[in-house]
Symmetry: C2
Subunit: 327 residues, 2 copies
Amino acid sequence: MDVSEIAEKLVLGDRRALARGITLVESRRADHRAQALDLASRLRGTGRQALRIGLSGTPGVGKSTFIESFGLMLVAQGLRVAVLAVDPSSARSGGSILGDKTRMDRLSRTPAAFIRPSPSQTHLGGVARRTREAVALCEAAGFDVVLIETVGVGQSETVVAQLSDLFILLLAPAGGDELQGVKRGIMEMADMILVNKADGDLKSAALRTCADYAGALRLLRRRPQDPPDFPKAMTVSALHDSGLATAWGEMRTLNDWRRSHGHWDQNRAEQSRHWFEDEVRQGLLAALTENPDMRAKMRAAGDAVAQGQTTPDAAAATLLAALAARP
Amino acid sequence: MDVSEIAEKLVLGDRRALARGITLVESRRADHRAQALDLASRLRGTGRQALRIGLSGTPGVGKSTFIESFGLMLVAQGLRVAVLAVDPSSARSGGSILGDKTRMDRLSRTPAAFIRPSPSQTHLGGVARRTREAVALCEAAGFDVVLIETVGVGQSETVVAQLSDLFILLLAPAGGDELQGVKRGIMEMADMILVNKADGDLKSAALRTCADYAGALRLLRRRPQDPPDFPKAMTVSALHDSGLATAWGEMRTLNDWRRSHGHWDQNRAEQSRHWFEDEVRQGLLAALTENPDMRAKMRAAGDAVAQGQTTPDAAAATLLAALAARP
């Protein structure tokens, strides 16, 4: 399948073409990179937009079960659902890479769903770019909802939040002091907190945990992009399919409100600006190692520093001044 | 006290002058920055070198007690000891800032010791530079041992390891599966693992934990900068002053071996190169926001991206190409 064929089939919603497109996007080969850019420019015209839902949850909160149940519910409503994973640790814990499809067995066998395992690549900057491009491909392929999941290792939640229209935090029932485990910065990014496993023996613990988080969310300052009563904390049971429809209803309420109040557009614009600035930063840093002239200068100055002829700071100041003095 | 007076008194070991010097180093004011650079150049000639020991341990492992007991032991041997903290989270958990001296009460009242609380600054890049400069001031002031401690939040362990001759991981006794809690990357950086609280009820747990980590260290590949039998895992009780002399003996054995085999010099040279490259990277990124011309270009291109006139990647590629094309 060449790029034009991928593009043609992809806009028709062909999952194999989408998978091929994402493979190009994920590749580090220069020819694949050129094809990926070609593909992106061919697809730019579709103008299709999905609802991008970021989902963060540590192992054990039942994320796969949630995505499977939630995804099947959306499919039953006639929606097409794509699932992408951002997992900077996947290269190390190799098991999860192959596991993505098996752990969402029913959803992966649904024609209206597309599940893409996490790429085996640890560099977070690269992961962000490829996920951003994969999201764009899913949108061009006509998916209505793109779920972007992360296990929340290091900075990956920030990456996912910056790619999403809605950022959902999935938690497990726990004692009250477990609140400490969720960093304040993550709480501030969350558009909704879902406490999973609100079933059987854990139901009352889930309700308590939910009430704790609802209280914590109220303590955070109100954000302009939230209607009254948001962000919300709710309980769900992915295992028993309970609470999911209510949660989805709240997500749509929140998203509709933002669309009609200009926040949705503003958020996407700010995200685009963020990723532009991020690309510039990454590109500048990459030039230090990829541009032969720069690399030689870095090497020579680094040698002088290593031999104690000058200090790290003085050598850096000299090199930076020379760069800045260029017209 | 002006800079020349600070320099004069500092080389005589005056702790007040050292504290003033570090205040200059930590300040973000431009005039203070200039004075800090002036001070650094005045002190460059001393040629004094301390043993730099990085110490990482999460809250609860007894880090303060360890530093107090270990520091007092070194002082009793006639050594002068400085303690610096790298805590990128200190600005948030304000309590620990003022707590540094009180939690090491006896050591802080010892004339041969100097304790500097963590600066209230979260930007890790800035913390690294200031800590590096503070270490240099402590060396110029004639301290024999500089302890650089961190709570190990995010990247701070890497920063401390890159500033240290020896990097020590302090742990508390725990069940075997607690091993999972220490990231592999941290284990690979550790020159020694000390399991604290090997006393009373926790003694047998400490011995078990120590054996587990000793086994884990053996599984890691041998590093050229380690003599046979290193890195080691040992138990200590900071509370009961037990094991500290043995641990110090092993640290000196390791350090002497590295000095006589060229690894010490090589390590410091590589660290200098690392910090030079880090400074260049930070400086390049800072230029994006500080250089008016660059800032204007970033702003204009960012606006075009936010308005959907171009994509983040295309705009970044254009801007980077323009920068690279400069002679």
